[in-house]
Amino acid sequence: MSRTKAKVSKKLLLSGTGAILAAMFIISGCNSKDNAASSPSGSSEASQPASEASQAASPEDSGSETKDFVKLSWYMPKPIDSMKDQDTVEAEANKIISEKLNAELHLNLIDNAGWEDKMKLISAAGEPYDIVFTTFSSNRISDNVQKGALLPLDDLLQKYGQNILAKVDSRAWKAVTYNGKIMAIPAQTPYSPAGAHVFKKDMVEKYKFDYKNVKSIQDLEPFLAEIKKNEPDMIPLLATANGTASGVTLYDYTTISPGISYSEQDGKVVKILDVAQNKANYQTINDFYKKGYIAKDAAIKTDYLAEAKSGKYAVMRDSGGYTEDGSKSTATYGFPTVETLSGYPTISTNSMTSAASAISATSKNPERAMMLLDLIWGDKYLLNTLAYGVEGKNYTVKSGTVKDGNPTIEATSGSEQTWAIWHNWLGPLWDQWDSNWNSTAALEAMRKNNDNGKASGILGFIFNPESVKTEIAQVSAIQKEANPILTTGSMPDFEKYYTNLQKRLDDAGMDKILVEAQKQFDAWKSANS
């Protein structure tokens, strides 16, 4: 019978989440999925052929660069499943693109269920396409570089990318430079979104809790205790397998590889579990768990947002950024909340590549692809058309005009929404029109936050896991097992669990990874000083 199952299961019974999709992928010989710190500065043989391709592909064709009409394809995840109106939006955009570049753009939008797997297959099979969305975690840029899927962009940028060069944060180029070559165009995005503690407003008022003075998770204790004592229907603190109180993860440590971090304070490369503050935080969480502040079955919960929205928790983490009046979390969670700032992460290689565009090594028209990207970075109307859609159909103008100046518009949202691409997926976020998605003021705040943000001491350092892959695989497996238990504090004996975890990780080869990371870091440092 289980032969029946084993056979059938492979395809039929698994029907499931992305996790499973990824599993299928791994099992069948491919893989994807997000990750914080990843791969390589591309061994030289990896990027070599690609660069040759670029030279071959960019002949001296000055003057007649746009003589032949070409079609360009752009692969990108589909932001919403019910996406419609693609033909009309593309027609509107292509009016400009064909006039300026004698080219036509087609967006290949792939739903989230298939994005990682499909993109990996398309690249692995060497299928021709021009532009692709790539980030540190989705369609991973480091994998793509290492496997030779992308084209180096230095020459093309110098020739055709003046708008891009002018607008991209100059620090961000470091994050996409592999072996001295620029491999992607980093988008404008919030580079260090603030972490915050979010409180349910009615609870804070009822118990007159001075939430503004919470500086660390330990400061939450009195409030949690009060809730536990007086509100039997509430759970004091929200923690799930993949999310815990803000500030548990240390802000001044930047991940290099799973379990290995860089200390921004003293510039050392360390095992994160060895950091005293890290241990203390998890111990506090465990203490909260034992005192009943955290749900007993927190470790099997995975939908942080759904849990937060249920309104049965008194303290939650931020919904991706901090607003002084709590408006952001109030809007996202759907009930009145107040927030207090917990900290800012440093700007790291990862946070600067949370959205980027790259040109494929298989592109037949890399020059025109670069020209198109440059046009999008330069032409506000084109950018906003691609993002918001067609006027009247997908958005309405509240004030100003779209062709010149900065209009204020209202994009359709909710169930009427048929077209939406996030501006940072296209590249220039700051050129977004003032709208109900993001006000110009909000964008200005994000931008300022980026400018003032503290860059990590290892910005631009990209760890190459190639020589320690075996160890990383083992460490990953243990970490995936331990993380839900750590973030929810659901272990009976903290001290025993923690030291045992450290030992298991060491057995799996943590020290070898540490040595390798230190070696690569030293080499990088001497090359960059």
Binding site: D81, N112, Q417
Partner: protein
């Protein structure tokens, strides 16, 4: 005489029968219960699920989940069409190539039977993996975004061939020998003798093929980018994955979830499950009627 024996065989043995029935009723309850939970959850609001858990009787009844899914019904109807077409075509063609191959290797007097049996068995354990398959289907055969890509790869598989071989090798050699003596060709023997006496086996195979094609989402994931060619089970996964994605830290951080945006919920998963499995469950008893009849004809062959 024979008639008498049959009635005797069918005469109920009251206590024994009763126990058997009770056993089956218990088994059936275990199979229906989760299904009721799924139906119940599909008409429950997201908040209630988080607050009160999954349950058969919803606290507050709502059609929201179905509304989310049926928001753009064209995609859903189109996928019913694709699913039904691939299931029908795939099952019929698949049954033919599987049964002919299995029949050949089930014949003890066939010279290449061992080789061909091993030839297919080998594919059950060793696969080239997704990348070579993808290159084959897309680059060499040019089948990306075609309905054929949803049919061809599953037409023959080691598991079904072996199963059929198991059934077919119980056919008495004498039956085939006598047909051979009458001068019938292999194709005629197969079509006129083997097929009619193998109805139980064919009914099983047909059922399994239909289930395979109906439940498949993997081929859509690999080879289909266009909405109008997607199969039902893939739409189910899409709902699941989209929900997971929109609830992810990344999506929240970059403001992808806008207030008022349509986020599929836990109940939408369940609703989609029902919409995907429901039709087959309704069709199943009808199908099974023929399935059992087929068995009847087969079983009285002697």
């Amino acid at each position: 005489m024979k008639e008498y024996a049959t009635t005797l065989a069918r005469r109920p043995l009251p206590v024994g029968k009763l126990i058997i029935h009770l056993l089956f009723i218990a088994l059936c309850a275990a199979c229906i219960f989760p299904f009721l939970v799924i139906i119940g959850t599909s008409v429950q609001s997201e908040n209630d699920i988080v607050k009160f858990g999954y349950s058969i009787i919803p606290k507050n009844f709502t059609w929201d989940a179905y509304r989310v899914i049926l928001h753009s019904p064209q995609t859903l109807f189109q996928s019913y069409f694709v699913t039904i077409t691939t299931t029908v075509v795939g099952s019929i063609v698949g049954m033919w190539v599987t049964t002919t191959y299995a029949y050949a290797i089930s014949r003890k007097d066939y010279r290449f039977r061992s080789f061909l049996a091993f030839f297919i068995f080998f594919t059950m354990l060793f696969h080239g993996g997704m990348v070579p398959s993808y290159i084959l289907m897309v680059k060499w055969l040019g089948l990306k975004n075609t309905m054929l890509a949803l049919i061809l790869p599953y037409l023959i598989s080691g598991w079904f061939v072996m199963l059929m071989k198991g059934f077919l090798q119980t056919i008495p050699e004498a039956v085939i020998e006598s047909a051979k003596i009458d001068g019938a060709g292999e194709l005629r023997i197969f079509a006129q003798i083997v097929i009619p006496i193998s109805k139980p086996a064919l009914a099983t195979l047909g059922l399994f093929f239909a289930l395979q094609y109906w439940n498949d989402w993997w081929l859509t994931l690999l080879y289909i980018e266009h909405d109008h060619l997607m199969k039902l089970q893939y739409l189910l996964i899409r709902v699941l994955k989209n929900m997971e994605y929109l609830n992810s830290a990344e999506a929240i951080q970059y403001g992808l979830v806008k207030p008022g945006m349509l986020v599929p919920s836990l109940s939408a998963r369940m609703a989609m499950c029902i919409l995907a499995a429901g039709p087959m469950l309704l069709v199943f008893p009808l199908f099974q009627k023929y399935f059992v009849q087929g068995l009847t004809v087969g079983s009285v062959k002697g």
